[in-house]
Amino acid sequence: MRTTLAYVMNWEPPDSNGGVSRRSLLAATAAGVTVSTSGCMDLVQGTIGQDNSGQLSLSITTVPADGDREGVQLARALAENLEAVGIDVSFDMRSPLEFHRAILLDHDFDLYVGRHPGGIDPDFLYDALHSAYATESGWQNPFGFARIGFDELLERQRSTDGDERREAVAELLRQLTREYPYPFVPICFPDEFRTVRPDRFEGWDARHLGTRLGYLGLEPRDDATELTVAGTDSRPSRNLNPLAAAYRGRGTIVDLLYDSLVTPAYGDDGGEYRLWLAEDLDWDDASVTVTLREDCRFHNGDALTAKDVAFTYQFLADTALGRADVPSPSPRYRGRAAAVTNVERHDERTLTLTTKAGRAASERALTVPILPRDVWWSQVEDATDQNQSISQGTWDVVTGDVPAIGSGPFELEDRSEGETVTLTRFEDHFTLREDDLPGPTVDRLRLTIDPGSLAAIETVQSGSADATMSSLETHALDQAREYENVELLESPSRSFYHVGFNVRHAPFSNPHFRRIVARLLDKARLVEDVFDGNATPTAVPVTDEWVPDDLAWNGEDPVAPFLGSDGELDVEAARTKFESAGYQYDSGGNLLARY
């Protein structure tokens, strides 16, 4: 009897947002709340009808420290400050694969801290922010950002060139930051460091090691025939589908397996892009006529022709190849390929791409990997024959481990999951015929997977590998500097750490909320504490030359200055900000959520 009574007395607390449930009302009635008059009943009804709002609680999705130590530290710093202003924070730690799945494919997150691949050219913002991509899976607009008038700004920077474009980009950035529709907070561009061993190969510093060119044209000493690189990301050993958004970081390995018409030559002396699979580009107003190099082949021996190029653009726009009622665009390369509106084949080697973009964005469209038509066609057929439903960005063709048959300088020999990926030189590659292009100089390229930057450095130091392919986490830099037989190589960086909001849902749909959260981050301080200064804080996600003066970092964030100083959050100020944005606190200092 006593237990029963205790049970009745001990009310289950209501769910944080749940208001009063039918059950508890029934229980209350049963427990003897006498509801004698209608007036009282109305009061009950009116009172409990008022939804019970609890503390705002949100989760930060991030990868564990093994995958990205800085990311976790940033997330923790953010969480600490969110807790300080009365928000309940939980972490949703996921492996890099699951992290990208949740964010890019399933859109199942509140906010996340991670690394954005960024872009040399600000046109990557088109993919990141265009409203038409808000519903799609992939790196295109994972935030769900959709704002009237913004698509036009994105189109404008895409269709213009030169100063006009520079102005358009500046205007875009201003609009993005002024009234804070900003669906993400860029934190900093980390410096890119890699360790290399100069004893077996020379020429490491000629090209960016984050691109395919970095691994070509190296000069072997002592007749070295095998290049071994150490990576910290095991995903290439599991899946080499160039379109699988969740499996790809920079996609350097994939870039060695596949060719594109032009190749980014960041850090090289040959400008932004250089001709690659294309022998010649003939630019016209809104079109470019491409001439392919002679006698290019895929790894399976098939000739690479204009047909494959045309197919690639068609396929990226609709991976279902017309088999579904609606196009099912690729989760990667989507925004770039969208600049190409039409492809006209002239003969085996020439074709004309019509673009609805200026020169800069059109060039970017030429960096997509060229896929062998026959291979992918049969992939699509197999998948549809098995009655797989074609769900954009998540069906098998764009996420499964499709045979890695490209035309790139290396072909896949073998891989063992979580350990190695072995590539061998593709003897038919055009770089081996053309003298002025850097080609594969080794018979074999091996990627070994290490659990973290320190281990990767160790592998290089011990001579088991020649270079680290992944850029080093900053905490490992000191270690790298200590070794005498390895060199630390710095490359320009374009990827950036950021906090992404799922703006589809409240409270993240509220720009005031986002801006205050942005202001909880002391970016300068974080760069010092987390990155040991090996990063550049930023207010906008584009590289230096595109940043308008008024948005340039000037010792503090010109857009969302930190609420506090010297890393100390001014909790009162932050709380006041939330309050003046219409949020409320309870006596326990908890920020309340009511929706």
């Binding site: 008059t37 209608s38 009804q45």
Partner: protein, 279 residues
């Protein structure tokens, strides 16, 4: 206006009762009743008291229950609509002003009559069992119906698709009746149709007492069917409500048969109401 309306209903039903007592009950039964009424009242009193209590509760709870419903009830209007769609519109196809008038009168006057007459008719029988069973069935109808009303929130077709049922909607044609029914019922209480369940109950009793009142059977059946159809024709109830009403009616009849006589309340009654016994 309400008083006027009530008077009107009382008058019409009174006339109907007078006629039907003459036709169905007959002079001889009336004279026995004049002799035996005390014992019959005594027999039927307990259940009559319960029924009155239930009705009073219904009346006072009328204000409270809707709020309670909103707190705990299931809002099923759209579910009903999804299940049966525009079934009730079937009747719209045959709508004529005469038919509308007929069903409106049946819904208001016919219903009241069909409920009251059996009470009178069974009271005129020496065997009080039918009367007690009938009153029990009424009580069950109200009680179970009320329970459903609390648990289920549903609006009738007229509240959902007013445009489609415009021509026959009772309250469009005879707005005054809305005040009358508003006195008895709340607009979220449509599941089940108590009009249907009570009329069906009466019809079932009529069938069971066919030996005593053979002529009443066809009349009761026709009226009950008309009432059931009228609720849909006038866009007050969904077909689902009417079906549920029929089920409720059946359940009440079956239950009443089992319950009556199981606990002989009247015997206990005897002890503290001896004055009636003397007769």
């Amino acid at each position: 206006m309400l008083a006027q309306l009530l008077a009107q209903v009382a008058a019409v039903v009174g006339v109907l009762l007078a006629i039907s007592i003459g036709v169905f009950v007959g002079q001889s039964r009336l004279s026995t009743t004049r002799v035996e009424w005390r014992s019959r009242v005594r027999d039927a009193a307990p259940i009559a008291v319960v029924l009155v209590l239930v009705l009073l509760f219904n009346r006072t709870a009328r204000e409270t229950l809707p709020s309670l419903s909103w707190s705990i009830g299931w809002n099923l209007t759209s579910t009903f609509y999804e299940i049966e769609g525009q079934t009730v519109l079937l009747f719209q196809e045959y709508a004529t002003p005469e038919l509308t008038a007929y069903f409106s009168y049946v819904y208001v006057y016919g219903y009241v009559f069909v409920l009251i007459f059996p009470v009178v008719a069974y009271f005129a029988l020496s065997d009080t069992r039918p009367l007690r069973e009938l009153l029990t069935a009424y009580t069950l109808n109200y009680t179970l119906g009320l329970l459903c009303y609390v648990l289920v929130i549903a609006y009738g077709p007229r509240n959902w698709i007013p445009d489609l049922v415009e021509t026959t909607m009772l309250y469009n044609q005879y707005p005054q009746y809305q005040e009358l029914t508003g006195e008895v019922n709340h607009n979220t209480n449509v599941f089940p149709s108590l009009h249907t369940s009570l009329s069906a109950t009466v019809a079932m009793f009529a069938y069971r007492t066919r030996d005593v009142y053979p002529k009443w059977v066809p009349v009761a059946t026709l009226l009950a069917a008309s009432v059931a159809v009228s609720t849909m024709y006038l866009a007050i109830h969904w077909a689902i409500d009417v079906t549920a009403g029929l089920c409720l009616g059946a359940i009440s009849v079956v239950l009443s048969r089992r319950l009556v006589g199981r606990w002989s309340l009247s015997e206990e009654f005897d002890d503290w109401w001896p004055s009636l016994r003397r007769e």
